[in-house]
């Protein structure tokens, strides 16, 4: 038992060390038919407000929803949070100076306004008037200074996100103004302030882990480890208040039991379910369809044999048939991708799906050239709480048999995955989805620089590093076209060197019990509970 205890400590410790988002998605296509209906079905804001207005007065006591989540939250302290599944929940509790809206734009949050100096080095934020923390205390510029400095590592310690090492100083000239000075101009700085890690927390908060205090539409009530988290509407929220009063987040770590829990009434909503699961739900549920905004791939450890050989990686890419995976796992739904970028990124996205069209002969030839004429065998680690990834891994294993390559699937727990694979880089291949914390190209691409601390695939390519540097330089010079072009070059290099076996941006299906509505899809890995409301 002590060994297990040590392991737990190690996992917790690892969680604290890690800072960047890794995401994992767990779902797939939908069956509910029709083209993406959910946005059209969602009533406009005014409607929902009117609706909620009446509902709130009379039915507050009944105003409750239970939402299933696939894993417990790894940390309730925003600067220490790490899993995308955690950060998408913290989105409802904490806010940064700015926050993303459902279209991917940045909207003011804790700051009501901001301006940038000519040279792009000095950002001036105006604190929102009358904004309060969940504990009733007003938010002061000292809190903002403290939060940003913590992120930037200016209070001692390391910057929690590498992009924050760019912050030179945080000044508070008066009670409503915060001035952030950067070392180098960066066009993506404001976007980085919207990440979960950069949330504004009280400077005097002693124990955020057990008593989280933020400014978001929901406040934390209680938590039972590995079981549930209780949230309650924050009535003094500065913006449009949430509709539903109480939310229970229930941890459903076993993906096979999601349907049972939904049908049995234990949970009312689950954000990422598979096509098959959606098909089981029947009349009582609405299934909404969007995309998850992540890149699902078989990520390869580029530092271990045989994956240190580009030809081997390319052979795998030629052997894998993406369309077949989609057909088997998600009824053909989902968007195939060819590099570490998904379509929601707009101008940064290049369609690289044609880099490898399925060609078994070519794959075999490449393997022979690489010195593996008879194939080889490797282990692919898959987190056991994401059915979508498990299913995909099984299809890939079957496809790779055609070129004599044996993929042994090993299911591991999510916490173990974070510790061993993401942090320890102790793996040959792993099947997960990686998401972006902001809509900036760097959020997807920075991890493939050879010296990036979160380069868990150990990708090492001088040409890539150079192209990325060039992109950053162009950003500093505010040459947006040049930067975009360089980022596209980065994506192309990743595809051509077959850094990983890229598969798809998974189609996101959200199951929500009839009687609830208002779910909004974000271009990021976010769940916004404040928009949910009760219809009857």
């Amino acid at each position: 038992m002590t060994k297990r205890g040590q392991k737990l400590v190690k996992v917790l410790f690892a969680s604290m060390l890690l800072t960047l988002t890794v995401a994992l998605g767990g779902c797939s296509g939908d069956k509910a038919g029709g083209d993406s209906t959910q946005i059209a079905d969602t009533p406009s804001t005014e409607n929902s407000e009117a609706n909620a207005g009446t509902a709130n007065e009379t039915e507050d006591a009944k105003s409750h929803i239970t939402i299933g989540i696939p894993q417990d939250l790894d940390s309730l302290v925003p600067s220490l949070s790490q899993g995308a599944g955690t950060q998408e929940i913290l989105f409802n509790i904490y806010e940064g100076l700015v926050k993303p809206d459902s279209e991917g734009n940045l909207i003011p949050a804790v700051a009501s306004d901001y301006s940038m100096s000519e040279d792009g080095l000095v950002y001036t934020f105006t604190l929102r008037e009358g904004i309060k923390f969940h504990n009733g205390n007003p938010v002061s510029v000292a809190d903002v200074k403290y939060s940003i400095e913590t992120c930037a590592g200016l209070n001692g310690g390391e910057p929690v996100i590498s992009a924050f090492s760019n912050v030179a100083s945080v000044e508070t000239p008066d009670e409503r103004t915060v001035v952030i000075t950067l070392k180098e101009a960066s066009s993506s700085f404001v976007a980085i302030l919207s990440t979960a890690e950069a949330a504004i927390v009280p400077a005097d908060a002693e124990d955020l882990q057990n008593h989280p205090v933020g400014t978001g539409p929901y406040k934390f009530v209680s938590r039972s480890l590995q079981e549930n988290v209780e949230l309650e509407r924050f009535d003094e929220y500065w913006g449009e208040p949430a509709h539903i009063k109480n939310i229970t987040l229930k941890v459903i770590a076993d993906s096979d039991s999601i349907v049972m829990n939904l049908k049995g009434g234990a949970i009312d909503m689950f954000a990422r379910i598979s096509t098959a699961q959606a098909a089981e739900l029947g009349e009582d549920f609405e299934v909404l369809e969007g995309t998850m905004n992540l890149v699902q791939a078989m990520y390869l450890n580029n530092a271990v044999a045989p994956f240190d050989n580009e030809k081997v990686r390319q052979a795998l890419c030629y052997a894998v048939n993406k369309q077949e995976i989609l057909d088997f796992v998600s009824e053909g739904k989902g968007t195939p991708v060819g590099s570490s970028m998904f379509p929601a990124f707009g101008k940064y996205y290049v369609d690289l799906n044609d880099t490898y069209t399925t060609d078994i002969e070519k794959a075999k030839a490449l393997l022979t050239e690489a010195g593996y004429p008879d194939g080889f065998s490797f282990t692919v680690k898959v987190p056991s709480n994401y059915q979508q990834h498990i299913d995909t891994a099984q299809v890939i294993a079957e496809q790779l048999k055609q070129i004599g390559v044996t993929a042994n699937i090993e299911l591991i727990e999510w916490e173990t995955w974070l510790n061993d694979v993401y942090q320890g880089r102790d793996f040959e291949a792993t099947l997960v989805g990686v998401d972006a914390s902001t809509v900036t190209a760097g959020a997807m691409l920075s991890r493939f620089r050879s010296d990036a601390h979160n380069n868990f695939t150990n990708y090492n390519n001088a040409e890539y590093d150079a192209a990325y540097e060039e992109a950053l330089a162009a950003e500093t010079a505010s040459d947006d076209d040049k930067a975009t072009e360089c980022y596209k070059k980065c994506e192309t290099i990743l595809a051509q060197t077959a850094a990983n076996v890229y598969i798809q941006d998974i189609c996101e299906l959200v199951a929500i019990r009839k009687g609830f509505a208002g779910y909004e899809f974000y271009p990021l890995y976010i769940q916004d509970f404040s928009k949910l409301y009760i219809t009857e």
Partner: protein
């Protein structure tokens, strides 16, 4: 001797069921109608038919073939588990029961500690340290099964060591090892056999449980437990996916339980 006494009904039914199960397992080892990992999108979740006796799963894999193979996996794991548990348990039980003294005290206290943990929990701890997979599950469950065998055998040995035939063997100068294994052990067989049968049942259920939790047999390989787990999502649209593996677990356990009863009654 045996032939004079009629077999009990339980024993006969148990033997028939176990026989059927064993035949299926052997067939599964030699040949399955379809490749158990071969996917076919044309027959996804197809209901049972002449081509696919038990229907198909969500990848269009033949459930009958997977059940055959899965029974084999489950059987091998249960068999290996019980073998480890029984062999170690018999040796420990025999020595502690026969010799007593401080060795008995120490080993039995360790035994009590092991016994205090539910076997699944013990196996979970083991797997979380050494990783998942078939062989780790065998080792984990095997260790967890030692205490029950050790206790039963120890009890028997304490009963027999003061018997006259043992005493006379000692006087005749027979070595202690020989007394233990040749003179006493055969007398414990009835009790030991039925506890092996019961142990086997527990091992089948434990393996199914472990695979159900995703830490036993790894996909795409099949075991009855992992099939049950995977089928859960399709319980309403493709009930046959869950029913057949579930029924096979019941058959296996029922067969061995009846056999164990039959042996005890004799």
């Amino acid at each position: 001797m045996k032939k004079k006494k009629a077999y009990s009904t339980n024993f006969i039914i148990g033997a028939v069921i176990t026989g059927i199960v064993l035949v299926m397992i052997i067939i599964g080892f030699i040949h399955t109608p379809y490749d158990i990992t071969k996917m076919n999108s044309a027959v996804k979740l197809a209901p049972p038919s002449l081509k696919h006796l038990m229907g198909c799963d969500n990848f269009g894999r033949d459930i009958f073939s997977r059940v055959l193979k899965g029974m084999g996996n489950t059987f091998v794991i249960a068999f290996a588990t019980v073998t480890i548990g029984a062999v170690c348990g018999v040796v420990i039980g025999a020595f502690t029961g026969f010799f007593g003294g401080w060795l008995d005290e120490v080993l039995m206290r360790i035994n009590d500690v092991l016994f205090a943990f539910p076997s699944i929990l013990l196996a979970l701890v083991f797997v979380s340290i050494f990783g998942t997979g078939k062989y780790n599950v065998v080792a984990a469950l095997g260790i967890a099964f030692i205490p029950s065998f050790a206790r039963i055998v120890r009890g028997e040995f304490i009963k027999y060591r003061e018997m006259d035939y043992v005493k006379s063997a000692r006087l005749a100068g027979v070595s202690q090892i020989r007394i233990i294994f040749v003179h006493i052990l055969p007398n414990t067989m009835t009790v030991l056999l039925s506890s092996i049968m019961i142990g086997f049942n527990n091992a089948v259920l434990a393996e199914a449980g472990m695979s159900y939790l995703g830490i036993g047999v790894q996909p795409p390989d099949a075991s009855l437990g992992s099939m049950l787990s995977e089928s859960q999502t399709y319980l309403f649209s493709a009930p046959w996916y869950a029913i057949f593996p579930g029924a096979m677990i019941i058959l296996m356990v029922l067969g061995f339980s009846l056999l164990a009863d039959g042996i005890k009654e004799k």
